[in-house]
């Protein structure tokens, strides 16, 4: 079994056995959606506001939870073992990234259901188009958060610094994601949707490549 598979299976199994990552993300997303419903006071069925609210929830829940898959290794004191093992740094990165991605997608599913309810949309075919958009957004964000996760651990006050670094870098994906989500939910023509999906794909490629290449330079025990 490759290192990637081993690490990933460990993380997913831990999560199934009552890890807090997914649940925390879900609750945070719901909380943020609730706050936004009060704060924005949008008219019913407003696809634009709903799309925006969903992405706000994803980003801020993500800044708090997406790095957890990696951060938890320090808390358990396992990071040294992980780094001493023959596993390549890039494999560690990929495994942690995929774990984060899974947690975020699960949280997004819950958030989407809540969004449809809170903003009075329909459980219709339009949600199907939303799927790839949210998945790609989660992938990009997980890629960035996992790369920069060491910041949270190695620097005091790092958990405030992480969103300050991650969110501006994520901005193009945010723009594309919200636009694509809006196009999906409002039933806009396919070209409008596809164009933003391409931008989102470009962002994902950039974040994944950067993470894959640069992770080994900054991952360390202390």
């Amino acid at each position: 079994m490759s290192a990637f598979t081993a690490i990933l299976r460990k993380d997913l199994r831990l999560e199934l056995r009552g890890g807090e990552s997914t649940l925390t993300l879900v609750f945070l997303s719901l909380l943020i959606l609730t706050v936004l419903t009060f704060a924005l006071n949008a008219p019913a069925g407003d696809a634009g506001t709903a799309a925006g609210a969903l992405w706000v929830a994803m980003i801020f829940a993500g800044t708090m939870g997406a790095a957890r898959a990696l951060v938890v290794e320090w808390e358990n004191g396992c990071i040294r073992a992980l780094l001493l093992s023959p596993a390549e740094r890039a494999s560690i990165y990929c495994a942690k990234l995929v774990a984060s991605f899974v947690f975020m997608v699960l949280a997004e599913l819950a958030a989407t259901v809540m969004m449809v309810l809170f903003f009075n949309l329909d459980f219709g075919i339009r949600l199907v188009r939303l799927g790839p958009v949210l998945a790609m957004g989660a992938l990009g964000f997980a890629a960035l958060a996992t790369l920069l996760a060491t910041i949270q651990v190695r620097i005091s006050g790092g958990d405030l610094l992480l969103p300050l670094l991650t969110v501006p870098v994520f901005v193009p994906a945010l723009i594309a994601g919200v636009k694509a989500s809006n196009a999906a939910l409002a039933g806009l023509p396919f070209e409008a949707f596809a164009q933003w999906l391409k931008v989102l794909a470009a962002c994902d490629i950039l974040f994944l490549a950067a993470g894959y290449l640069l992770f080994e330079h900054i991952i360390s025990e202390d």
């Binding site: 960035l144 790369l147 920069l148 060491t150 910041i151 190695r154 620097i155 005091s156 006050g157 790092g158 610094l161 300050l164 670094l165 969110v167 501006p168 870098v169 901005v171 193009p172 723009i175 594309a176 636009k179 409008a192 164009q195 933003w196 931008v199 470009a202 962002c203 950039l206 974040f207 950067a210 640069l214 330079h217 900054i218 360390s220 202390d222």
Partner: protein, 243 residues
């Protein structure tokens, strides 16, 4: 970085900036549509050029630092980030001051201003990292990775913001490029101003870089001093012990 070089570059910068000011306020004609406020343009654009170029330098120096491991590259990256941040802030401020009389609003979500705002946020993140993590070992590597990712992101930001602005029904008319310069005197003034600001940027970089180098030298001497003092203590301990 000799102080002599810094001195002469300072002189050259001052001369070029003086020339630029003269051209902006005396030589160049007033633009027909916007009036004299348009003259802000001749310093606003070079500030933007420096802000973006400095950020590229942050990333490139960071890359060299990761590759070669020499401290000079890390110092250069830090210096570039500070200087770049200064000019990025000036872009936003002058852009805002320019926007008010022309468009009646202090801020517009014009694609260029928005991109610069995101750049400013990237700078802010980088510098906050530098300041907060100053004592952390290998902070240079951390900063280098952040710089590289952020700089690679900038082209994507530019494209996505531009798309965002054109698809969106234009509430605000986007500035006509500002490169629709009819009069050759305007182009000349802009070029002189760009050169002056480039010189200014390099000079400020040299100054900031030398403070970082001096700090490193102080740390190094401090270590040597500690070693020498330890040796002294050891010697005098032996004298006491042997008698």
């Amino acid at each position: 970085m000799g102080t002599k070089a810094a001195y002469w570059l300072g002189v050259i910068t001052l001369a070029m900036m003086t020339a630029a000011i003269f051209m902006v306020f005396v030589y160049v004609p007033t633009e027909a549509q916007q009036g004299i406020v348009q003259r802000i343009f001749y310093f606003h654009v070079p500030c933007a050029w420096v802000a973006f170029a400095a950020f590229a330098l942050v990333a490139i120096s960071g890359g060299f630092y990761l590759w070669l491991g020499q401290q000079v590259w890390d110092d250069l990256a830090y210096a570039s980030a500070e200087v770049g941040m200064l000019f990025c802030t000036l872009v936003l401020i002058t852009g805002s001051i320019w926007a008010k009389p022309i468009w009646g609003a202090w801020w517009t979500w014009d694609s260029r201003l928005t991109t610069t705002l995101v750049l400013w946020l990237l700078y802010a993140g980088y510098l906050t990292l530098r300041v907060m993590a100053n004592e952390v070992p290998q902070v240079g590597r951390l900063a280098a990775v952040v710089g590289i990712v952020a700089a690679a992101d900038v082209p994507v930001i530019i494209v996505s913001v531009r798309l965002w602005r054109t698809i969106h029904p234009a509430v605000i008319v986007t500035r006509q490029g500002g490169h629709g310069l009819e009069d050759p005197r305007m182009i000349a003034t802009l070029l002189v101003s760009m050169s002056a600001f480039t010189a200014l940027c390099v000079w400020l970089l040299m100054l900031r870089f030398s403070t970082l180098r001096t700090t490193a030298r102080i740390a190094d001497l401090g270590r040597q001093l500690a070693l020498a003092e330890a040796e002294m203590a050891d010697r005098s301990g032996q004298v006491r012990g042997s008698s």
